[in-house]
C-alpha cells in the first residue's frame, strides 16, 4: 500500500513553475481511479447479485 501511495505521490509532483514533473501524472491518477472504480462497481453490484440469488433460492424453497 505504501508503495502505491509513494508512486501516486511521485506522479503528482510539480516543478517550481507549477508544471507537472511527470507530464502524464494526472492521467495515470485517472487510470488508478478507473481501475478502482470499475472494480468497486462490479464488486458492489456483485454483492447485490448474490443477495438476489440467495433471496430467490430461499423463496423457491419456501414455496
Amino acid at each position: 500500500m505504501e508503495g502505491i501511495i509513494e508512486y501516486f505521490k511521485s506522479m503528482g509532483e510539480r516543478a517550481a513553475d507549477g508544471s507537472l514533473i511527470h507530464p502524464f501524472g494526472i492521467t495515470i491518477q485517472a487510470l488508478g481511479i478507473t481501475a478502482g472504480g470499475l472494480i468497486g462497481v462490479f464488486a458492489t453490484l456483485g454483492i447485490f447479485f448474490l443477495m438476489i440469488r440467495v433471496a430467490n433460492k430461499i423463496s423457491k424453497k419456501a414455496e
Binding site: 505521490k9 503528482g12 491518477q29 485517472a30 481511479i33 472504480g37 470499475l38 447479485f49 443477495m51
Partner: protein, 379 residues
C-alpha cells in the same frame, strides 16, 4: 436618457448567441420532443439569465429569484436528491430479480465514465474536472449535477446540458454503436423469459440492503443511493401508495421544472461560451458511445463462457446505460427489426434498471476515490 435604453445598449454578441442556444434547446424540446421536461426549462432559463442586467440572477446588490433557487436547490444539492426520490419511486426492480445476471451489465456500461475521465485528463482538464466530465457517462442527470457541483461547480452548466442532451439523443447514439459491434446473427439471439413473481419481502429488503451495502463501500454515495432507494422503498412497501404516487408525479414534475430552469440560469454567457464547453459537449458524446460499447462488449465476453442455448443477446449489454426506460425500448425495437417477434424487452429492462444502480454506485466510487488520490499525492 441613456438609462432608458440600457436594455438595448447593454446587449452583446455573446448574449445574442446564448438566446440562440436557448432557442435551439426549446426547439429540440418542442419540435423533436427530446427530453422536453428538461430542455425547455433549461432553454428558457438560458435566455432569462442572459437578458440585459441579468436581474433574475443578481443586480444592484440584490439577489434574483433564479439565484435564490440555485443557492437553495443546486448549491445545496437538494434538487438532484429530490429527483432521485421520485426516480426511485418509479423503478420496478422486478425484471432484475427474475434475471439477476443482468446486474453486471449495469456495471459494464459505466465504462464510458472512466474512459472519458482519462480522455479529459489528456486534453488538459484537472482530475476533479475530468471526473465531473466523465460522470456525464452515468447517463443520469442528478448524479452528474451532484458530482459536478462538488468537484467542478464552474463546469456545472455545460455538464448538465451535455448530460440531458445526450440522454435525449440515446435513440440516435446507441443503434449505430450496437450495430458496429454486433453481427446480425448476434442481434437475433432469443432469450427465454420465465414468468415468476419475486417475493414481496425481497422487494422491501432490497432498497434497505442496497443502501447499507453502498454506504459501507462508499459512504459518500449515501445521499445519492439513499434518496433513490427511499423512493423505491415507498413504492414497494405497499402501504404508502399515495406517497408513492406523489413522488412519481407531483414531486417529480415540480422539482424537474425548478431544476431545469435553475440549470438554465447557470448558463450565463461568460461561463458558458468558452472552449471548455465545446470540449465537454464532445466528450459527453464519447462517454455515451463508450458506455454502449462497454456494455455490448461485456455481453459478448460473457457469451464466450455460456452454452449455446443460454447465450445473451449482446444488445442487452447496451441497456446497462442508465437512460431508463428509453434504452431498453430501443434495444427491443432493434431486436424486433432484426427478427420479427424476438421479445427481449424484460431482459433489456432488467439491464436498464441495473444501469440506474450502476450509475449511482459509479458516481459514489468517483466521489470516494478522487479525494483519496488527492490525499495520496498530498494536494
Amino acid at each position: 436618457m441613456q438609462d432608458v435604453f440600457i436594455g438595448f445598449t447593454s446587449i452583446t454578441w455573446k448574449m445574442l448567441l446564448m438566446y440562440g442556444i436557448g432557442g435551439i434547446l426549446i426547439w429540440l424540446a418542442v419540435k423533436k420532443e427530446y427530453e422536453p421536461m428538461l430542455l425547455l426549462p433549461i432553454g428558457f432559463g438560458a435566455i432569462l439569465v442572459n437578458m440585459p442586467l441579468s436581474v433574475v440572477w443578481e443586480h444592484a446588490g440584490s439577489t434574483g429569484f433564479l439565484k435564490i433557487l440555485y443557492d437553495l436547490g443546486i448549491a445545496t444539492e437538494i434538487f438532484p436528491l429530490l429527483i432521485f426520490i421520485a426516480v426511485g419511486a418509479m423503478i420496478d426492480f422486478g425484471p432484475l430479480f427474475k434475471n439477476p445476471m443482468m446486474i453486471f451489465f449495469g456495471a459494464a456500461a459505466q465504462f464510458g465514465i472512466f474512459a472519458t475521465m482519462i480522455i479529459a485528463t489528456l486534453v488538459g482538464f484537472d482530475l476533479k474536472e475530468a471526473a465531473s466530465i466523465g460522470i456525464i457517462g452515468a447517463a443520469d442527470g442528478p448524479t452528474s449535477i451532484f458530482v459536478a457541483n462538488l468537484f467542478a461547480p464552474n463546469l456545472l452548466a455545460p455538464i448538465s446540458v451535455a448530460a440531458y442532451s445526450y440522454m435525449s439523443l440515446v435513440p440516435l447514439i446507441q443503434p449505430p454503436v450496437i450495430k458496429a459491434l454486433t453481427t446480425s446473427s448476434e442481434r437475433r439471439i432469443h432469450m427465454a423469459y420465465h414468468e415468476s413473481n419475486s417475493p414481496k419481502w425481497l422487494k422491501i429488503l432490497f432498497p434497505i440492503l442496497v443502501t447499507m451495502i453502498a454506504g459501507f463501500v462508499a459512504p459518500i454515495s449515501v445521499p445519492l443511493i439513499g434518496s433513490l432507494m427511499f423512493g423505491n422503498l415507498i413504492r414497494e412497501s405497499g402501504v404508502l401508495e399515495r406517497l408513492s404516487q406523489t413522488a412519481q408525479n407531483e414531486l417529480a414534475y415540480l422539482v424537474t421544472l425548478l431544476l431545469g430552469i435553475t440549470i438554465g440560469a447557470s448558463m450565463s454567457a461568460e461561463n458558458f461560451l468558452t472552449w471548455k464547453t465545446l470540449l465537454i459537449m464532445g466528450m459527453g458524446l464519447v462517454a455515451f458511445v463508450f458506455d454502449t460499447a462497454g456494455g455490448v462488449l461485456f455481453a459478448k465476453f460473457v457469451n464466450l463462457f455460456l452454452p449455446k442455448d443460454k447465450k445473451i443477446n449482446p444488445m442487452i449489454g447496451a441497456c446497462g446505460i442508465s437512460a431508463f426506460p428509453m434504452s431498453g425500448r430501443i434495444v427491443q425495437k432493434m431486436a424486433n427489426e432484426e427478427e420479427r417477434g424476438n421479445i427481449i424487452l424484460m431482459h433489456a429492462i432488467g439491464s436498464n434498471v441495473s444501469g440506474q444502480l450502476g450509475s449511482v454506485i459509479a458516481g459514489g466510487m468517483v466521489l470516494a476515490l478522487v479525494p483519496l488520490i488527492f490525499i495520496a499525492v498530498g494536494f
